[in-house]
Structures are given as C-alpha cells and as structure tokens.
C-alpha cells in the first residue's frame, strides 16, 4: 500500500472512523523508524554457506538477514534467495555469491511514513536501518511498524487514563484544611455564536474531575442558563466554578444593569427578553426556574446599576463522586 492509496482508504472510511484514522496518520508521521525497529539484529557472515544460513533463519524464525563483514553491512539475503539456491543444489555455495548487494535501507531518523512508502515500493519483507554514519543499527519489518503503532496507542491511552485518575483524585492527593479548585470563564455579551463555551468547558472540567454524569448534567444545564442570561441581559460577565470534595459552587456575576425586581424575575414565565432573543429559543422566562430546579441551593442578588450575582450550589454525594 502506498501513501497515496492510504489517503483514499481514509477518504472512503472517513464517514465511520474520522478521528482514529487521523490519529494513525499523525502517529505515522510522528514516530521514527528507530522507535519501532528491532535493535538486536541477527546478521550473517558472507563466508557462511547457504546451508548454514538456513540454520540461522530456522533457529531465529526469521526470513532474512543483513550480511556483515568487518562491521559493515555489505548485503541482504532472504529466504527466497535461500530457496532458489537449494532448488539449484547450491547448499554449499557461500552467502556472498547469493546475497543481494544493492541494498535498499532506511535511516533511523526516517518517519514511519517513509518506511511504509518503501515497503509499498519494494516488495521486501524487511529493511536494514542505518544511522547517519551508515552503520547498521537495526532492522524493520511491517510487523515492527504495526507493533510500534499499537504500543504507542496503548501508551497514549494509558497516559490519558492516568490523567483522568489524577484529576479525579486531586482532592484525595492534596492535603489541606480545605481544598478548592477555582475555574473562571469570561462571558461575552450578545455573542450567540460563541455563547455557551464557558458552560461547555465547565462540563468537560467536571468530567475530568470524575463527577457523576447526572451531577454534571445538572450543573451544565444550570450553568448554561446562567451563561445565557449574562449573554442576553448584561454587558458581559464571568462564570466562576469552585469545586470542593463535598460540593460544587457555580457563581455567575455581571456588571449590570441589574434586576429591578428579583422576586418577580424568579416567577415562571416572567421575562424582559427582547423578541430577537425569543426567536433564538430563549427568553421565555424559564431560565431561573430551570436553574432553581437543577441546584440544591441558589441565591440571586442584584443591585440596579451595579450588577447581579447568582450563586448555585450543587451537593456531591459523599464517596460516590
């Protein structure tokens, strides 16, 4: 398979596995040959007979070896060369006379993509790997490439697991009288294209911290309603999340204009939103009602001309989260 073909394959499957293939492609260009090659190279002397070579291949269960003389690689020989020699009754012939002398090699610092291209172009089962000085430092097969990619995938997956574990155990690992993780997000006024990004980030952060999905959902819904309120009604503000082992507190603050009648604002259906907001699917006077239903405790304070502060507290079940 050439690299060109690989691109078509990706295109054809792209409606199924877009992310995974991108990751494989990334890795193929990231990983170097030296990271996946076999370092302990089994070699053979040019003075060995083909019968001796057969033993080397059989004992090591390999299908080809570099031929090395005085520390220099001078050729390659494969099981195909051996079979041809045996057919012709040349078992006692020296390897030197049967080996391939024009050897195609890869460099240790080539990318896997380069090696894959070579495997596609030449139908060899293996390539010797040379360092910058031309010294033989390893050997690479298509199996080495597959193994290397799988190993790298496993490593990436494992480090992701560790990251998740660390995040969710942050409160257990760090000892203090009271540990609080504080996250702050700016909310732009009337930006309906990017609006909701703060809530989206809060949601991801809570997921990282290992909170229970139901709790994450409650907090996300309430935070998103609060963020929408800042977007619609104010000149911009902030969402501040304080995470503690026993509770999550989300505060939405803005610099005005403030709510004239807080009690009225909390009534279902009461809204001061303009028509263009209603056309966007908000402004029906249900935001604060939703927030109240999603939180365990909520306080809303507002001063006209100064600003509004909405505090939402979510209790975390002990142990489970």
């Amino acid at each position: 398979m050439t690299l060109g073909q690989q691109e078509t394959v990706e295109e054809r499957h792209s409606n199924r596995l877009p992310t995974n293939l991108t990751k494989v492609q990334e890795l193929v260009y990231e990983l170097k040959v030296e990271q996946v090659m076999t370092r302990d190279v089994i070699t053979c002397s040019p003075d060995a007979t083909m019968a001796e070579l057969k033993e080397v291949l059989r004992v090591n269960q390999i299908s080809g070896v570099p031929i090395v003389e005085d520390g220099q690689m001078i050729g390659m020989i494969s099981v195909e060369n051996l079979l041809r020699a045996l057919e012709e009754g040349d078992a006692q012939t020296r390897v030197r006379d049967k080996m391939t002398q024009r050897v195609q090699a890869v460099r240790a610092d080539d990318t896997l993509a380069g090696a894959v291209a070579l495997f596609a172009r030449y139908r060899y089962g293996r390539f010797p790997v040379l360092d910058a000085e031309g010294q033989l430092v390893g050997i690479i097969t298509q199996g080495d490439i597959v193994r290397g990619l799988l190993k790298q995938f496993e490593t990436l997956w494992h480090s992701e697991e560790i990251r998740r574990y660390r995040a969710s155990h942050i409160f257990e690992d760090i000892e203090s009288e009271q540990t609080t993780l504080i996250l702050r997000y700016h909310v732009e006024a009337r930006d309906f294209v990017h609006g909701g990004e703060a809530s989206s980030k809060v949601k991801r952060a809570l997921d990282r911290l290992g909170a229970h999905p139901q709790t994450i959902r409650r907090i996300s819904v309430a935070t998103y309603e609060a963020e929408t309120n800042i977007m619609i009604h104010t000149e911009g503000g902030e969402i501040i999340v304080e995470a503690r082992p026993e509770e999550i507190k989300v505060t939405a603050v803005d610099d005005g204009p403030g709510i004239e009648d807080v009690a009225k604002a909390l009534e279902p259906g009461f809204s001061t939103a303009p028509d263009w907001i209603r056309e966007l699917g908000f402004g029906a006077g249900m935001g604060l009602v939703n927030i109240k239903a999603s939180t365990d405790r909520m306080t809303l304070t507002s001063t006209m001309g100064v600003g509004t502060r909405l505090e939402m507290i979510f209790d975390l079940a002990q142990g489970g989260e």
Binding site: S14, N15, R16, P18, F192, V193, G195, G196, S199, S200, K203, P213, R217, S220, V221, Y224, E225, T228, L280, G281, F282, A284, M286, G287, V289, N290, A293
Partner: protein
C-alpha cells in the same frame, strides 16, 4: 389500529427513512440509537425536560440549539420544515459530534411519524419507573 407494541429505540438510519430526511453532518454513525424524542423550539424546555439519549426535533437552527444538546446529552438533532442549519451550527455540531438531520415535514408530522413508530417522548416521567409511566394507551397495548 396501530401495530406497535412497547416503545423502542430507533436508529438514525431509520429516522432518516421515516422522515424522508437528509443527513447534514459528515461522518455520523447511522447505527446510533435514540431512546426518546423531544419536539421543541424553546431551549429552556429542552434543558428542563430532556434526558441523555434524546433526539431533538426543532425549527430553530442557531448554534445554541447544539449547545443545548451538548449540555443535556442529546444524541442527534432534526431540523424540521426543510430548514437548513447555519454554517456555525454545522461546525459546532461537528465539533461536538452531534449528528444533524433535516426533514421537509413539519414539527407536528415529524413527531407523529416517529411516535407511531414507537419512539417515546422525553420528560415528565421518572426514568427509573419508565415501564409503569407510559400512559394508559401504551399500558393496554403492552398487555394485549
């Protein structure tokens, strides 16, 4: 007489067929199943009443519909009455991996087609007691 039994999960492929719909999102897995559906143009209602695994049918096409879906765990969105979502909406949905579908049918007819297929409504009942809370109509059908 409707020949439906208990509520069922429906795949996106089947939804496209039932609604004579078009898939807007690239790379969506049409074998994805939805468990509930919700037809609404008021996002606060969607935020209040939907569950994870819900299909949202709506006439709104702005990016906040996708944000709402993200917050509530909505699995896919159908835009009704032949509405085409804005490019920001498509981009955000792609980023959040929420498939977008369109249909030429109205919200009412789209919901009706899915409901008669057996896709149940979201909201207004406790998920833990799904079986007992399906309304008289369906209780009888279940016993029949």
């Amino acid at each position: 007489m409707l020949l439906i039994g208990w509520f069922i999960n429906v795949t996106l492929a089947e939804i496209l067929a039932l609604l004579d719909g078009v898939l807007v999102s690239e790379g969506a897995d049409l074998d994805t199943e939805v468990e509930f559906a919700c037809g609404a143009d008021l996002m606060s209602d969607v935020l209040a009443f939907t569950h994870a695994g819900t299909l949202l049918l709506t006439g709104l096409t702005n990016p906040q519909v996708v944000r709402t879906a993200e917050m509530t765990g909505i699995k896919a969105i159908v835009f009704v009455r032949g509405k085409k979502p804005a490019s920001e909406t498509i981009a955000l949905a792609q980023d959040k991996k929420i498939p977008l579908l369109t249909t030429r049918f109205t919200l009412y007819e789209s919901c009706g087609r899915l409901y008669t297929r057996g896709l149940q409504s979201c909201g207004l009942f406790d998920l833990g007691h799904k079986a007992q809370e399906q309304g008289p109509d369906h209780a009888t059908r279940g016993q029949a």
